[in-house]
Symmetry: C2
Subunit: 216 residues, 2 copies
């Protein structure tokens, strides 16, 4: 292992340890000493990588952001139609929130601080939803009744962001079961009966598997 | 004005000033001196009412909780049918979040601290939604298709809590327009076509007026 590889590993270990501390105690209560102990490194090694607690928090936010974006990209690459892709993407992102403490802590931190990152992430998610719905309209998948696309996009964004907020009370809110229930409720109003029959509210297993496999 | 009335007024002014400070700067950055200056009272008067910043924050949370509960009760007292009441209640509560800084700061604080109050408020809201849907089912208003009541309740809770979370980015998310859009999206899937025709997604004006009139 080169010196650079060791440095990257130490930094990653510090980010993961910090995420655990922030998740458990919140930004204000987390201590740099607990973060370095958790990463199995000296306080000096921590200070080599991060100037202070705010810098560690920023790194956790950035790492969360990178992972969320990468997962959404992979899900999109394996898309079949636009609506199924939207369903698959929410399942993949929910999986990250369940399983990746850096994603969870990073998203929450950005809210507790000055909303720097999360604001962007929430806006990115809104753009993503709007884009998929526009594609679905182009593909003739959206119901053409009185439902306005802008209302639909907002409802989907609000409901999914709400699941993340509520998951602070209980992880059950981001379970595959809960995400599937959301789509079982929303899809019938969004799409034509023919398109609905072909959609899988529980997500496409192959896409979810690919999206959630860590890059080696 | 009796001494007790003066005391109550001072306490209310401190709670309102603190809410403004917490809303603007967050709990960690808010200072007791700015709170007493904002309320137009001396630091000594603040300390007569509150031991420390945490005690002020708790009072803000409790005040928010009381206002939210009272508004929901008033909306319920003027109910016509269960679904319209659910719509009216969300509009009334959204109005509070828009217009009452104590409600906004109190709800957010409880999340930033240890989720003591907000957890209860979110659970109370979930119970409220579940109860209205059960009543709607009794009244024969719910669609009897494949939609499961538990999925529907969760979707409504997630979408409404999501609007509150997103309103931190932009107040537009809790505008009457946005809340109406949510119900325009959800109601068609929830109810029978006959019941839908009688429902007003924008809320019942008389109920909203009564719910949002401050108690004298």
């Amino acid at each position: 292992m080169t010196k650079q590889e060791r440095g990257t590993r130490t930094r990653d270990a510090l980010i993961r340890s910090a995420a655990g501390e922030f998740d458990l105690r919140g930004f204000a209560q987390a201590t740099l000493s607990a973060i370095s102990v958790g990463a199995g490194v000296s306080p000096g090694a921590l200070h080599f990588h991060f100037e202070n607690k705010a810098a560690v928090a920023e790194a956790v936010e950035d790492a969360a952001c990178t992972t969320l974006r990468r997962t959404a990209r992979i899900a999109y690459r394996h898309r079949s139609d636009a609506l199924q892709n939207l369903v698959d993407t929410t399942h993949a992102l929910a999986g990250l929130f369940r399983e990746d403490i850096v994603v969870r802590a990073g998203f929450r931190l950005s809210c507790a601080n000055d909303c720097r990152t999360e604001l962007n992430l929430r806006q990115e998610w809104q753009s993503c939803v709007q884009q998929r719905l526009a594609e679905a309209a182009d593909e003739g998948l959206l119901a053409t009744g009185g439902l306005r696309q802008v209302d639909l996009a907002r409802t989907i964004v609000a409901a999914t962001i709400g699941l993340v907020t509520l998951s602070q009370d209980s992880g059950e809110w981001l379970s595959p079961h809960a995400v599937t229930g959301l789509w079982r409720t929303l899809l019938p109003t969004m799409t034509t009966p023919e398109a609905l029959a072909a959609l899988e509210p529980a997500g496409t297993p192959a896409v979810l598997l690919r999206s959630l496999t860590p890059v080696g």
